[in-house]
């Protein structure tokens, strides 16, 4: 039993929209190097949690500490520098760009140099650009979509687009990767492959993953820890096998008529 390093600690997080409380005093911790599942019926507030982690929403109360720092001090665009990158439930790619360029945007915060170096295309700027392009290509290879590098993302099938999003996120070489329903819209085979990919990435790049997902088979298969939410509250947490037979969870899901593998 090795010592567990907590990478992300969410304490008493509460988010309100007007009268509605979307997330209610939620606490959970994510250990470095693990894959952490965040599940629950629709409207449980999972995406809202993600939007807090990426600083889109301002929580009404609670704290988020990441890697020992208070994340709530960072601006939305500072989250990446801190080491957190996310993907989106319904794909948010830059349609005006090629796959490669999308991934390059992922690397944005890793770029050095000033605007004027870009403007005059100084040797330094060009060298950097070249290096980054190669890095981007390797990321694409890692995900097995290098062949689409110069295609416009709009022209790709949905499954590929999802992969591009993951690639774009990884390009920022994050410590923590937030995956928002990566399997949505994929067929079982694709989903299975995706599962392996995620595990594999975790190992290869030492990336910690928080996963919001409806596909229970996937969640149960790859997650080390799972936090279950309902109506903005945490109703259970633990290892997959514990969760599987947790009455509250079953109730919550049967209520929704979804069955747990």
């Amino acid at each position: 039993m090795k010592t567990v390093v907590t990478l992300l600690a969410v304490e008493e997080l509460t988010v309100k929209f007007g009268g509605l409380t979307a997330v209610n005093a939620l606490s959970f911790a994510v250990a470095a190097g693990t894959i952490h599942g965040l599940i629950g019926p629709n409207g449980a507030g999972k995406s809202t949690v993600f939007n807090c982690l990426s600083r889109f929403y301002e929580p009404a109360a609670g704290s988020i500490s990441f890697d020992g720092h208070n994340l709530l001090n960072a601006p939305p665009h500072g989250v990446v520098k801190a080491g957190i990158v996310r993907t989106f439930q319904n794909v948010e790619l830059f349609r005006g760009m090629t796959v490669l360029e999308n991934v390059l945007v992922g690397q944005h915060s890793t770029f050095g140099g000033s605007f004027f170096q870009d403007m005059f295309a100084t040797a330094k700027a060009r060298a950097q650009e070249k290096a980054k392009r190669e890095a981007a290509l390797t990321t694409l290879e890692l995900l097995g979509i290098a062949d689409t590098a110069n295609a416009y993302v709009g022209s790709l099938p949905y499954g590929k687009q999802k992969k591009v999003e993951v690639a774009r996120a990884l390009a920022a070489n994050p410590k923590l990767l937030l995956l928002d329903e990566p399997a949505a819209g994929l067929n079982p085979q694709e989903t299975y492959a995706l599962g392996d990919l995620i595990v594999d990435l975790g190992r290869k790049l030492g990336v910690t993953v928080v996963l919001v997902e409806h596909d229970m088979t996937l969640v149960m298969r790859i997650c080390d820890q799972i936090t279950v939410m309902e109506f903005g509250r945490k109703i259970a947490s633990g290892r997959p096998d514990e969760i599987r037979c947790n009455p509250a969870v079953i109730k919550a899901y049967l209520g929704e008529g979804e069955d747990i593998a």
Partner: protein, 290 residues
Amino acid sequence: MILLQQVISGLATGCLYALVALGLVLIFKTTEVVNFAQGEMAMFCTFVAFSLLVVVGLPYWGAFAGALAVAAVLGILLERLFIRPLHKSSLLSVLIMTIGIMMVINGVAGWIWGFEPSNFPTAVSGEPVRLGQLVITMPDVMNLAVTCVIMAIFYLVFKYSMVGIAMRAAAENRVVCRLMGVKVNKIMATTWAIGSMLGAVAGILIAPVTFLDLSMMSEVIIKAFTAAVLGGFNSLPGAVVGGLLLGVMENLVAGYISTELKGAFAFALIVAVLCIRPTGLLGTVERKKV
């Protein structure tokens, strides 16, 4: 006393802004089009009214009705031919489209009616109302009255009538509307018809003051946009509030600060308001779900 007078004539002018702004907002709410052609459409219809009056020799209200009919047709045609094909494209290209329409309408109107200004009769004449030093002309009263009536109608229609509800729904979510069996296209067309008619009413009310010529709306439309943004581009009451506010404010600036910088001050006000409320006074934010 001067102050009060200025406020009142400001309100009268503001009503005209409000009417045009109302059309802009209505069209934007349901079809998400920022319609730069609104002013020229109004100008065109006003000229039609003029021809009906002078050439055909209809009585005032006959010409008025005729112009409204033409306005409706014009609105529907434009929506059908030029706007509907763009329902998926960006705000910019739609905006450019309306600018193109604006140029064409203005040019064609020039071909039909020439370039020299002419006098346009007022709906109501008669001695101005005097309250002490205060003077309110019949046309001013008319403007206020018309605006109030139209506001009332709008309120009722939008609140209670089926069409109104459908329009509101279409504004909220086009797809769902379609699924619910609302004839969205029909709604869009109706919206444009109404928006265009609003413009025509404004044009006919403005013409006696600005006199009838090709550029009669060029300034009003900018004011109307300002008013719409001031009030919140997606709020009908906002358009009216914005219009009246702008009308009054302009007069006060002109009276107490500087006539030459009126427009500049109006702009400063807009920026100030928008910095505090990015969606105008009564506008609402659409939060993008991710």
